[in-house]
């Protein structure tokens, strides 16, 4: 019990580390709660997440091109149809193009909450857990690497507050979960390789979890495995190398065994839901034809603007030079302690693999979404900050805090009090709503507003260029796509609806695809 002996310096440090850990954990929890409470905008894939986890019949809502729809039509969308019915979820994922773990977990959470009203908090419950686990992993890993009491707290909080991480927290997709598994994989692997600790079971669990969550996890695994293997070969630790390779192969084999649809998803030309896997493979085989511009666009998407990214790169180089300058005395050879050497290697492995991952994803992803980098982004951020921990006398804290402040995006935690959640607006104005789309029907545009449309008494969907002859009793709301102007929509509806109305614009209502108008009946 020497560690807990407060008279002992080591004991004091242990207590301090534990206290700071819990302080950081509480702060992380509060940050996460605030970010979730501020979520106003939904991406079209988020309704798909809930639907695929809960509705075996559909992904998108299926309806005619236009017409009126009852409230129940939307109320029953994404509600758990089959509580704890995993076979249904897996069967649907075989038809889709993702591994099933995330959807299974969402199904489980939805099943536990099936008698409660649908809330944003419920949909993001899994992400909240993963966010907290990520904090714990980063804290533990940084402490393991630095043995410092202050760096784990600062780096893990900088990691938590990173805008990319907050974005993944509030997105109802599998990216927060997969980042948990890749961080776990990285931490377990680094501990095996650099600290000679037997974390093989954790390594296998991370591979099984990550592989069953998103296929891009294998990029993270592969890139890190190559680095680990090189280090182990250089150190001639053959037994550890063989044991690690065996663990990785067994876990990957297990993944293929329990979800053999991976072969169809990745290799088949005629996969049920498109050829995303095949396209990815084709992109990978033409890897030398690199699309640098696209890769840099990813940096732009993830670091809050490319200038901040460039700035952080320049800053890290300057800090590196400063480090070299401070460690070197005139005429003497550079002296770096073994611990700091190790820290540098760990940091650069994280950064290098993370950057290569950007290229791999930019080559293979079908769409340009920053979230596809979630598997390595966290690892890159941690590695980047770890480099600063090599600076003497806690000087590294300054750039970490500075970079965090520069890349911090207040929108996640500080909501404009004048803005109104569209689903709150819908609860207050729960009469009928007319949705005016331009030209053609985009089903996802309608499905994405499922939280709003389940509040309105009825939902009428029409195209701007189609007739909409109708009588609507009382006041009603209009959602119109952002490529239309309020004037155009007003003129259109005044022609189609047989009564006089007064139009009130509501620019304060936030939705992803629509602006909101209120139509007040004029007597």
């Amino acid at each position: 019990m020497k560690l807990l002996d407060l008279k002992n310096k080591k004991g004091m440090k242990t207590v301090l580390v534990a206290v700071l850990f819990f302080v950081g954990l509480i702060a992380t929890f509060l940050i996460a709660k605030e970010a979730i409470a501020n979520k106003a905008i939904f991406d079209h894939d988020e309704s798909l997440t809930m639907s695929l986890a809960n509705e075996h019949r559909m992904g998108w809502l299926v309806f005619e091109n236009h017409g009126w729809f009852a409230k129940s039509f939307f109320q029953n969308y994404i509600v758990t149809d089959y509580p704890f019915q995993y076979k249904e979820v897996i069967a649907w994922e075989v038809e889709d193009n993702h591994p099933p773990l995330y959807y299974l977990l969402i199904n489980i959470i939805s099943s536990f909450h099936q008698r409660e009203p649908l809330t944003v908090g419920m949909m993001l419950e899994l992400n909240l857990w993963c966010f907290l686990i990520n904090y714990i992993i980063v804290y533990w890993f940084v402490y393991r690497c630095t043995k410092s009491y202050i760096y784990p707290l600062v780096i893990s909080l900088a990691f938590v507050l990173n805008p990319f991480n907050l974005e993944m927290l509030i997105m109802i997709r599998m990216y927060q979960l997969v980042s948990t598994f890749s961080l776990l994989f990285m931490a377990a692997g680094m501990s095996i390789v650099f600290f000679d600790e037997p974390w093989y079971i954790l390594l296998a669990l991370a591979i099984v979890g990550g592989g069953q969550t998103h296929y891009f996890f294998y990029y993270a695994m592969l890139l890190l495995c190559i680095c680990f293997a090189v280090v182990l070969c250089l150190q001639k630790r053959w037994k550890t190398l063989l044991l690690s390779i065996g663990t990785v192969l067994a876990a990957v084999g297990f993944n293929f065994l329990i979800f053999p649809a991976v072969f169809t998803h990745v290799f088949s030309q005629t996969a049920p839901n498109g050829n995303l896997g095949r396209e990815a493979l084709d992109g990978l085989t033409s890897i030398w034809d690199m699309n640098t511009f696209r890769a840099f666009t990813y940096f732009d998407l993830t670091w809050g603007g490319k200038w901040i990214f460039y700035f952080t790169v320049v800053l890290s180089i300057l800090i590196g030079l400063l480090f070299v300058f401070m460690q070197t005395k005139k005429g003497k050879k550079l002296k770096i302690s073994e611990t700091k050497k190790q820290l540098l290697v760990i940091g650069w492995i994280c950064i290098t693999t993370s950057c290569i991952n950007v290229y791999l994803v930019s080559q293979t992803a079908s769409y340009l979404y920053a979230r596809y980098l979630a598997m390595m982004e966290g690892i890159g951020i941690v590695g980047f900050f770890l480099l600063f921990a090599t600076l003497p006398k806690h000087f590294g804290l300054i750039p970490i805090i500075l970079i965090s402040a520069l890349t911090y995006k207040p929108t996640y935690l500080h909501r404009d009090p004048n803005l109104v959640f569209s689903f709150d607006y819908a609860k207050e104005h729960n009469g009928p709503v007319v949705v005016v789309l331009k030209e053609e029907l985009f089903i996802y545009e309608v499905c994405t507003s499922f939280l709003d449309f389940m509040e309105y008494s009825s939902v009428g969907i029409t195209h701007y260029e189609e007739p909409f002859p109708n009588h609507i009793d009382g006041d009603f709301t209009v959602y119109y796509t952002k490529d239309l102007s309020a004037k155009e929509v007003e003129t259109y509806l005044e022609k189609e609806i047989d009564k006089k109305v007064e139009w009130v614009e509501h620019p304060e209502v936030e939705t992803n695809y629509y602006y909101v108008l209120e139509a007040k009946e004029v007597q």
Binding site: W68, R115, I201, P432
Partner: protein
């Protein structure tokens, strides 16, 4: 190494057991899902034979007995639910009622197929909603 790091191994074994335990517990919950548990969703389709029109309505119910669900359908707000803007409205015309034969099909979520559970004529129901909007559009 194993002796030196016994606590790491122990921690991982505990973690593995926790994962396996959760797996079997949750699998058990799935296996226990039998008729009558959880929130049941009933899809009611009212068929208008004359016009080959299908009017569907969905309610959610915690009831387990089908008879009670039918009672609930007639008594609760599910059928007196107000939608007055063209998409749904009440058939009040008695003549029309005589001509229509409607039956309910109720799907219970663990059934794979629709099941015809009760045939009723419109006279048996106080109100029935039909979707005018379908004709209109």
């Amino acid at each position: 190494m194993m002796k030196k790091h016994w606590h790491i191994l122990l921690l991982q074994v505990v973690l593995l057991l926790a994962v396996l335990g959760s797996f079997f517990y949750l699998k058990g919950l799935g296996d226990k899902q039998v008729y009558g548990s959880g929130r049941n969703r009933y899809f009611i389709e009212v068929h208008n034979d004359l016009q080959q029109e299908v009017i569907s309505y969905t309610i959610e119910s915690y009831e387990t007995q089908l008879d009670k669900v039918l009672e609930e359908l007639q008594e609760t707000k599910a059928f007196s639910y107000q939608l007055t803007n063209g998409e749904l409205s009440i058939v009040n015309d008695m003549e029309a009622k005589k001509e229509l034969t409607a039956y309910w099909l109720i799907k219970v979520n663990w059934d794979k197929e629709y099941r015809k559970v009760q045939e009723v004529t419109l006279q048996d129901m106080d109100t029935i909603w039909i979707m005018y909007a379908q004709e209109k559009w």
